[in-house]
Amino acid sequence: MNTLLDYFILLIPSIIASIAVCYSVLTLKEFKKSQQFNMVNTILGDINELEGEIPLIFQLQTDKKNNEQTDVSLSQLLSRLFNKLDWLSYLVNDNQINDESLKDYVIPTIQDYYNGIYTEYATDDMKKESEYKEFKKLCE
């Protein structure tokens, strides 16, 4: 005959298993969140690095006084910047970045670059329909 103690002994492993499953789910959620933060952190770091190249263009302008070379350097920098923003936009559009607080930060940042830099300084080639699709999809 089963006593109350027998039932209790059977119940303990189930409770422990449930706690373990909950803990695993929480850990997995945290891992995904930290992965998303790392992705964004890497891309924003790359963008900062690109912006750090502006003084080199100033220097080039001062030393060589060569407008053509400056144009090339500047459009290369802008193209690399838009590539990074396009990739970041893809991650948001594809829901790879789905943490709400991170999206609250990233989307306005991408839009700032779109309104402040892309609309004003992108060359005609950069504005072609086939270019930076994800970036435009997120911002337009």
């Binding site: 912006e51 100033f58 006084k65 500047l74 402040g116 999809k137 911002c139 337009e140």
Partner: protein, 43 residues
């Protein structure tokens, strides 16, 4: 843009400081290009 993402935009708000700085720097480069051109025209 998806509706959900649209809600996260900040319409009418000013640009962030880093974008303004980048904009100013690009404008400086463009201005210097014009200066260089006018100098080379006069010389």
């Amino acid at each position: 843009m998806s509706d959900e993402n649209k809600k996260k935009t900040k319409k009418g708000k000013s640009l962030s400081a880093s974008v303004v700085t980048l904009k100013n720097n690009i404008n400086k480069i463009k201005k210097k290009q014009v200066d260089n051109e006018s100098k080379s025209d006069t010389s």
